[in-house]
């Protein structure tokens, strides 16, 4: 189950109304099992002590206190491995890049990927056959000190820590790529910083600026991955973050493209993005970091403002009222129809071993329905729901207008809602790759 919570009540529409006479007896039953006999034993293996609330720290759910350390870790790693194999996120011939921010989720992601690779390496060494290679792993950190210039010292310290962390994760060795975010423009740092600041200043809506920064971060990760020969990008997005994204996207009017962002696999990018920790809650990941002593780095950045901040505190409030709310939100959103690019594209490359190709075919269970061509927003790469617009007189401009008017609705309004004509400037300042040349003439 996605939520690992013994008190999760399945919220299907049949029993979303709890009758007064049912709910007291239900809670009574749960209380009694926890108080008679199994009080001090892990509920899974019934052998060891559960994680004590002291080491778990504040905010640990009642459920985590029921597992012993071993079962808890096995459970979490199991969820990770299940996602990886079910969606063929990592195959032996891949070269994966782990997006590392220093926070608990990406630390756990890096740790788990390392363990997976380590095990594969051991098997490879022990095996006489050596037919299946071991996948490669790299780590990428996007340096956003251009956006927060006051914090550049802290960022340098953080980078030093990261180098240490990554150097410990051997064998096999992993490369750490530190990529300053202004390099999405050019490798010239000063010009890049200048253009970046101009772009961010053009977005005068707080929420819009944050969203814009997220898109730029993804562009940066894609650039790192493609320039260094990686073919998979791993993000540490967990259930909690996805729940916030579901609500925030609904509030911003992005209901159509929502199902594209929250799946395990997102292959609309050049380098497909995968989310192996999608079934783990932030609480579990925090607990694991605390217990395992995984070093998490607090990077300097402003707390989410505007709509993102509101939604984030709303979800926290809901979690306090019902600890399985995040899982329910993600489960509901999971019922929305995904897009055709929400699965790993089939490998037609003959150099890839046959076993890998066969395994992938088995897991890409749904038949490839007609590859409905989606149009994508030039700024944030979201699938667009194309409506019919008035035909423009200038044919060159018409093509971009078709894309750009929904962009005004979805993306650019978010960046500078009050002054509609300013979005022209935003588009001009955007990294060149995404725009046809004619866009500038608007």
């Amino acid at each position: 189950m996605a939520c690992n919570s013994s008190s999760c009540q399945s919220n299907c529409y049949k029993n979303d109304e709890e009758y007064a006479e049912d709910s007291p007896s239900l809670t009574d039953r749960k209380l009694s099992t926890s108080t008679n006999g199994q009080q001090n034993l892990c509920v899974k293996c019934k052998a060891n002590q559960p994680i004590s609330s002291a080491s778990a720290g504040a905010g640990a759910g009642a459920d985590d206190a029921h597992f012993c350390y071993g079962c808890f870790r096995r459970n979490l790693y199991g969820k990770f491995r299940l996602s990886v194999t079910s969606y063929s996120m990592i195959t032996p011939s891949d070269n994966v890049l782990v997006a590392f921010s220093g926070g608990p989720a990406s630390s756990v992601a890096l740790q788990f990927v390392h363990e997976l690779q380590h095990r594969a390496q051991k098997n490879f060494d022990a095996n006489k056959d050596r037919s299946l290679p071991v996948f490669g792993v790299g780590v990428a950190f996007i340096d956003e000190s251009a956006v927060y210039p006051d914090a550049s010292e802290k960022v340098d310290d953080a980078i030093r820590e990261m180098k240490l962390v990554v150097s410990k994760l051997t064998p096999p060795m992993k490369q750490l790529h530190v990529f300053p975010i202004e390099n999405i423009y050019t490798s010239d740092s000063i010009e890049g910083k200048d253009r970046l600041t101009k772009l961010l200043d053009a977005a005068n809506d707080a929420t819009g600026k944050e969203d814009l920064l997220l898109h730029l971060r993804m562009l940066a990760l894609q650039k790192v991955a493609s320039e260094n020969g990686y073919n998979r990008l791993i993000l540490g997005s967990c259930t909690s973050r996805i729940a916030c994204h579901v609500l925030a996207a609904t509030v911003k009017g992005q209901g159509y493209s929502l199902s594209a962002d929250i799946q395990y696999v997102d292959a609309r990018w050049d380098i497909p993005v995968v989310l192996p920790l999608r079934d783990c809650t932030a609480q579990e990941l925090n607990l694991l970091c605390r217990i395992d002593g995984l070093k998490t780095l607090q990077l300097p950045n402003s707390p989410p403002a505007g709509i993102n901040g509101l939604v984030s505190s709303f979800v926290t409030l809901l979690q306090e009222e019902n600890p399985s709310r995040e899982c329910t939100i993600v489960r509901t959103a999971g019922k929305l129809t995904p897009f055709h690019f929400n699965r790993i594209p089939e490998i037609s490359d003959c150099t890839v071993p046959l076993a890998t190709r066969r395994r992938q075919k088995r897991y890409n269970l749904k038949p490839m329905e007609s590859m409905s061509s989606e149009s994508f927003c030039p700024l944030c790469n979201s699938p667009l729901r194309i409506l019919i617009y008035r035909v423009r007189t200038n044919p060159k401009v018409a093509k971009v207008q078709d894309l750009v008017v929904p962009v005004v609705q979805v993306a650019v309004f978010r960046y500078s809602p009050r002054i509609p004509h300013q979005w022209n400037i935003s588009i001009c300042l955007y990294p060149n790759k995404w725009l046809p040349g004619e866009a500038w003439q608007l």
Binding site: C12, D16, A20, S23, G253, S259, L310, K335, L336, R385
Partner: protein
């Protein structure tokens, strides 16, 4: 950048209505944050409702339409605006007021007086149906039995059936309710939070129950609650001096919907169009049509439309009667024990 600052300064000084540029601006429109005068506000408010009715083909000429009237601001404004537009644009409708008495003392009995006054003021015939007559229980009795946590469920289910039965008694073709944009946005959020994908696909439709005997429509789907009624001075209902009842249901503070409402209020402060964006998202959600949808049958107990063997109202009533019986039995036992001791 500078020209924008200039226009802002100009607006700040003179404060003329941004639509007619003649009269003094009386309020800042919650939906678009424009400064407009009273007359333009009425015009734009009524015109938008008319556009919604026409574009979505909500009514046909000659139809009998019942307006779900609770006496609150939404239904009062709906009754007023519908009768106005009916006259002005010749919809050719026969309008009625339909009110439901849940039996909540201190709230519903007061608001019913308001509806009775509306009947006289707007000249629309009124019909009142009560929970006591239909189900044998009032909301006060239900709350006494089950407490304050799930009472809104009972009220909502019972009210829906009561409206349908009242509409059948009036022999109308359609029921119009005063659900506004805020309500629908809250419903979308609630359905996401509760995992109800089936309801999520239906809740943003402007007309529901089209395959049943009496469809229900929501002409106020795109109207902000703040425009119907603001806590400050400027509101449609207030300006026009419409007679309405402005207290909240006494049982509402504990409802789960309160969470969603708080979020929506905060969102509206940051970005007013967020409410319409939520509705747009709800309309655009990709929900596959072959997701398991409930099949439609009739309730074996009362004959009402249902997707299960018994309709929800009958199920709830059965539960209530059982709780009542066990309570009565408990009381009886206590009395017997007391008698034995003596």
């Amino acid at each position: 950048m500078e020209e924008v600052a200039d226009t802002k300064a100009r607006k700040g000084g003179a404060r003329l209505c941004s639509l007619c540029d003649q009269r003094r601006a009386a309020l800042k429109r919650p939906k678009t944050l424009e400064q407009i005068c009273r007359e333009c506000f009425y015009k734009v408010f009524e015109e938008e409702i008319h556009q919604v009715i026409v574009e979505n083909q909500l009514f046909k000429p000659g139809e009998r339409v019942a307006i779900g009237a609770s006496g609150g601001k939404d239904s009062t404004v709906l009754a007023y605006v519908l009768s106005e537009l009916n006259r002005r644009h010749n919809y050719g409708l026969d309008l009625f007021l339909l009110s439901v008495d849940e039996g909540i003392t201190g709230y519903r009995d007061d608001s019913l007086e308001t509806v009775k006054r509306n009947e006289i003021q707007y000249g629309l015939p009124l019909k009142i149906v009560s929970y006591k007559d239909l189900y044998g229980w009032t909301m006060d009795e239900i709350v006494k039995m089950i407490g304050l946590k799930n009472n809104c469920t009972f009220c909502g289910v019972f009210r829906r059936q009561a409206l349908d039965r009242g509409a059948a008694l009036l022999k109308v073709d359609k029921v119009a309710t005063g659900h506004n944009a805020d309500d629908i946005a809250e419903t979308v959020l609630l359905n996401i939070l509760r995992g109800d994908i089936a309801r999520l696909s239906r809740c943003t439709s402007i007309t529901t129950g089209e395959d049943g005997p009496i469809p229900r429509c929501k002409p106020f789907k795109y109207t902000y609650e703040k425009e119907i009624n603001l806590n400050q001075i400027c509101t449609y209902a207030y300006f026009k001096r419409l007679d309405y009842f402005s207290t909240e249901c006494i049982y509402s503070p504990n409802a789960y919907r309160g969470f969603a409402r708080e979020l929506i209020k905060d969102l509206e402060r940051i970005r007013p169009r967020a409410i319409l964006d939520i509705i747009k998202s709800g309309e655009n959600f990709r929900i596959s049509t072959n997701t398991k949808m409930p099949e439609q049958r009739t309730c074996e107990r009362c004959g009402y439309i249902s997707s299960q063997k018994w309709c929800k109202a009958c199920v709830l009533l059965e539960g209530l009667n059982r709780v009542c019986q066990s309570w009565v039995l408990g009381e009886a036992k206590a009395l017997i024990m007391m008698a034995e001791r003596k």
